[in-house]
């Protein structure tokens, strides 16, 4: 079982080593001349105002929650799709019920304007 995944692990290690090597090469050969201006975050040439990371809009949170919920739904589709021919009409109806209930949620989210980006 694990053996068929071993090449993936090997590629993962090789790719990580190559990426780190590239950064290392850049750090070794690149010049290092620090200055105050170079060190300050880019803000169209002005002195940065306030901290760079500030609290973000709650909309991104909402998108992430909705993403998780629909992602779980998508994951449930896969074992169904693989077995679809064997499950036949019964499987189709089962999935219709599942999708139907989720569509209620989708319509609710839509009607409440949670998908708007104004």
């Amino acid at each position: 079982m694990l053996e068929s995944y071993l090449p993936i692990a090997i590629l993962l290690i090789v790719a990580t080593v190559v990426c780190l090597l590239l950064v290392a090469v850049g750090t070794i050969f690149g010049p290092r001349r620090k200055s105050f201006r170079k060190g300050s975050p880019y803000e169209s040439g002005m002195q940065p105002i306030g901290p760079g990371t500030r609290r973000m809009s709650v909309r991104f949170y909402l998108i992430a929650v909705l993403f998780i919920l629909f992602d779980v739904e998508v994951i449930f589709f896969y074992p169904w799709a693989v077995n679809f021919r064997a499950l036949g009409l019964f499987g189709f109806v089962e999935m219709l019920v599942f999708v139907g209930i989720l569509l209620v949620g989708y319509v609710y989210v839509w009607r409440k304007g949670a998908l708007e980006w104004d």
Binding site: C19, G30, K38, G52
Partner: protein, 348 residues
């Protein structure tokens, strides 16, 4: 069957070769893009370094090596270094499962041309890697301590997770038809008929969602330079910036490779059946090493299409982008899955 030690040696060589090929492909995709964009805009593109500018990527690479690696003040150093690596590595790792050929005989040993061919959950592996590739971008934005980076990375992340849904669902319709999650089996089933003819809507949705997923034009909002400077990699320079660049261009090849595997016959010959019947030597069944050749040809064609799209279409506005993802692509894909299932049900 070889023993484990030999196999590990073969895999290491294979993995190193694959990484080198992908790095070269990345370098020449940038050249291809600049050349094609140039021609479309009635100019030559790079043509000074070497014949037809063929040495341009090399010149760019050397220049980037000798650039200063800036680390702005207030940066979270650990995450700042981690982010470009996290962006580039997943793009490479997907290629472990994309089928590039069957078994071929090298020096008396049977070697599979795909690095990890025995995955019975291939599609899910692709989705898993896709969902992990968000981290490079979200962490880059947070670590940079810059407002442009932060905004760019937030937008980019929200865009990626929104289109991941449509991408995953479009593949569900494919799985209903193919009845397997194994990428090699999916390629084998397209011996006579490519799935793009059975799944035209699925193919279009997959390509669109994949373009949005890797932030390519017309969905390249994180790099909307007029409003966000350079998005999440504003503060990056030198080879760390090159890694982000590399991630983006290798991901172009990933999209091409996945679209080929799912819809365009994989590494199988792009020839009508009567030609391979007349000349069986051109079929990958008889000449396995032609697999990677056919695969590369198809990848170049799809890379060209992606560049063409970038040259043709204007960028979407952010609210249009989110509306397209959540209100258009998601319901259409869901409907397409159920329609596909219904048709398969009627025919069986």
């Amino acid at each position: 069957m070889n023993d484990l030690g030999t196999n590990i040696l073969i895999w290491v060589i294979h993995a190193v070769l694959l990484t080198v090929v992908l790095l070269t492909a990345f370098a020449y995709t940038t050249l291809l893009e600049r050349k094609v964009l140039g021609r479309i805009q009635s100019r030559y593109g790079p043509n000074r370094a070497g014949p037809f500018g063929l040495l341009q990527p090399l010149a760019d690479g050397i220049k980037l090596i000798f650039k200063e690696e800036l680390t702005p003040a207030g940066v979270d150093r650990f995450t700042f270094l981690l982010a470009p690596v996290l962006a580039a590595v997943p793009a490479v790792v997907v290629f472990a499962v994309i089928p590039m050929g069957g078994k071929a005989n090298f020096f008396g040993t049977d070697i599979h041309l795909t690095l990890a061919p025995n995955l019975n959950v291939g599609i899910l592996f692709v989705l898993a890697i896709t969902s992990v590739s968000v981290y490079g971008i979200v962490l880059a934005g947070w670590a940079s301590n810059s407002k442009y980076s932060m905004m760019g990375s937030l937008r980019s992340t929200a865009q990626m997770i929104s289109y991941e849904l449509a991408m995953g669902l479009s593949l569900v319709a494919l799985v209903v038809v193919a009845g397997t999650l194994d990428l090699n089996a999916i390629v084998d089933q397209q011996k006579e008929l490519w799935f793009v003819f059975l799944q035209p809507v699925g193919a279009v949705i997959f390509m669109l969602a994949a373009l949005a997923e890797v932030n390519r034009a017309p969905f390249d909002l994180p790099e909307a330079e007029q409003e966000l400077t350079a998005g999440y990699h504003t503060e990056y320079s030198g080879m760390k910036f090159a890694l982000f660049f590399m991630a983006e261009y290798i991901k172009m090849s990933v999209i091409a490779g996945l679209a080929i595997t799912f819809f365009f016959g994989g590494y199988r010959e792009p020839l009508p059946l009567f030609i391979t019947r007349a000349l069986p030597v051109l079929s990958v069944d008889n000449t396995p090493w032609l697999g990677p050749v056919y695969f590369s040809i198809k990848v170049v064609v799809l890379l060209f299409v992606q560049i063409w799209v970038r040259a043709t279409l204007p960028r979407l506005r952010y609210d249009q982008l989110m509306r397209l993802g959540w209100k258009v692509m998601l319901p259409i894909t869901l409907a397409w899955v159920m329609v596909t299932a219904f048709v398969v049900l009627l025919r069986s």
